[in-house]
């Protein structure tokens, strides 16, 4: 014979509802706090330090003048004209050390072509560093490895533009000159020290 079912089992199951009020209070405090520290517009600084430029003689010099010697000058120039981006080294105004990258069909400057040209200059003309020295960074106070190249201005680019070229174009050119991405996906510095000047 079966046992008689217990009376307790007949008790109605009450629906247990979680008390959400403290959680809501916490969230209501957290949301204004996070709203205050949120950055909806992401700003950055494009740092520019007007450098001391080493000048050589008259323009028109060739790669053979001082190109192959340690401490020579590369004198990389990028001129932004209304129709093209002009890249030159060793103060050349024509020949193999000069290139004019014309605007694309849509009227925009070809920044990718500019970067490719600068990468070519960096790898083919500047080449690998000839020495690596440890030096103290006066700003950070840390020891840093400084690479020395065949050219003493191997990290500099002299940038100039026509008077009415807008600031956005200048920033894009600076971006193209600053770094490049290798095939391995690593970002490497290209010519990170720009010097702005008048167009020549």
């Amino acid at each position: 014979m079966a046992f008689r079912p217990s009376y307790k089992k007949k008790r109605q199951n009450l629906e247990a509802e979680a008390n959400l009020t403290p959680v809501m209070n916490l969230i209501c405090v957290l949301i204004p706090l996070l709203l205050g520290s949120a950055k909806f517009v992401d700003l950055a600084l494009l740092e520019y330090s007007p450098p001391i430029i080493q000048e050589t003689g008259a323009p028109g010099g060739s790669a053979g003048d001082n190109g192959g010697q340690t401490g020579g000058l590369l004198e990389l120039r990028v001129n932004v004209t209304y129709s093209a981006l002009e890249v030159s080294i060793f103060n050349a105004t024509e020949g193999e050390n000069y290139a004019a990258i014309t605007k694309r069909a849509d009227g925009e400057y070809d920044y990718d072509a500019l970067r490719r040209k600068l990468v070519d200059v960096k790898t083919r003309i500047v080449g690998q560093p000839v020495a690596r020295n440890q030096q103290l960074d006066p700003q950070t106070g840390r020891l840093e490895i400084a690479e020395q190249y065949r050219f003493s201005d191997a990290d500099q680019v002299r940038l100039s533009a026509e008077g009415d070229i807008p600031l956005q174009t200048l920033i894009r050119v600076l971006d193209a000159c600053r770094e490049y991405r290798t095939d391995q996906g690593i970002y490497k510095p290209l010519f990170p020290s720009p010097a702005l000047g008048q167009i020549q």
């Binding site: 520290s37 950055a44 920033i171 600053r178 702005l196």
Partner: protein
């Protein structure tokens, strides 16, 4: 004569009105997750000024709060805060091609340096420029020349950050 109230209604207890919090909780959790994603420990040190359409760049350097100039299509201003600006150079001075240095800006920068020295503040030789993306290069060059001649060694441009990996 009124009907007698039913016995069922007579004994029914009035249920306490409870707001339905579950849907509200869902919404709050989504908001919380979104805000946690955009959370920044440094906060917004620089706010984009009104009326300036900033250029975009792939740089990643975090902005710092230093002396700030606003270069707009209408002139050059000192930024007091995001809404308040004080005119330093008007359009005529910026457009004058015979002028390679901006007189009012130069005297303003010297005043700032003097004031910092007088109050014993650490002399910062850095300033930031919030420049409209459409301002011409010759204005930029004039401003940089003037700042450089006034002893400022670092002149940084405030830009909108964009992804390097684009395209």
């Amino acid at each position: 004569m009124a009907f007698a109230p039913s016995k069922g209604k007579k004994h029914r207890r009035p249920a306490a009105a409870m707001p339905q919090l579950t849907s509200m909780m869902d919404m709050m959790v989504i908001m919380l997750l979104f805000l946690l994603k955009v959370y920044s420990t440094s906060g917004a040190l620089i706010k984009p000024a009104d009326g300036v359409d900033l250029p975009s760049s792939t740089v990643a350097a975090e902005p710092v709060k230093v002396l700030s100039l606003l270069a707009t299509r209408n002139g050059l201003y000192e930024e007091i805060n995001a809404q308040q600006h004080r005119l330093i150079e008007d359009l005529a001075a910026l457009q004058d091609d015979n002028q390679v240095e901006l007189g009012n800006l130069s005297s303003f920068l010297h005043q700032v340096q003097d004031r910092n020295r007088r109050f014993g503040r650490e002399e910062t030789r850095t300033l930031t420029i919030q420049g409209d993306k459409t301002i011409p290069y010759r204005w930029v060059l004039k401003i940089i020349n003037t700042c450089s001649n006034a002893g400022f060694e670092k002149i940084d441009f405030v830009v909108l950050k964009e992804s390097k990996h684009r395209g």
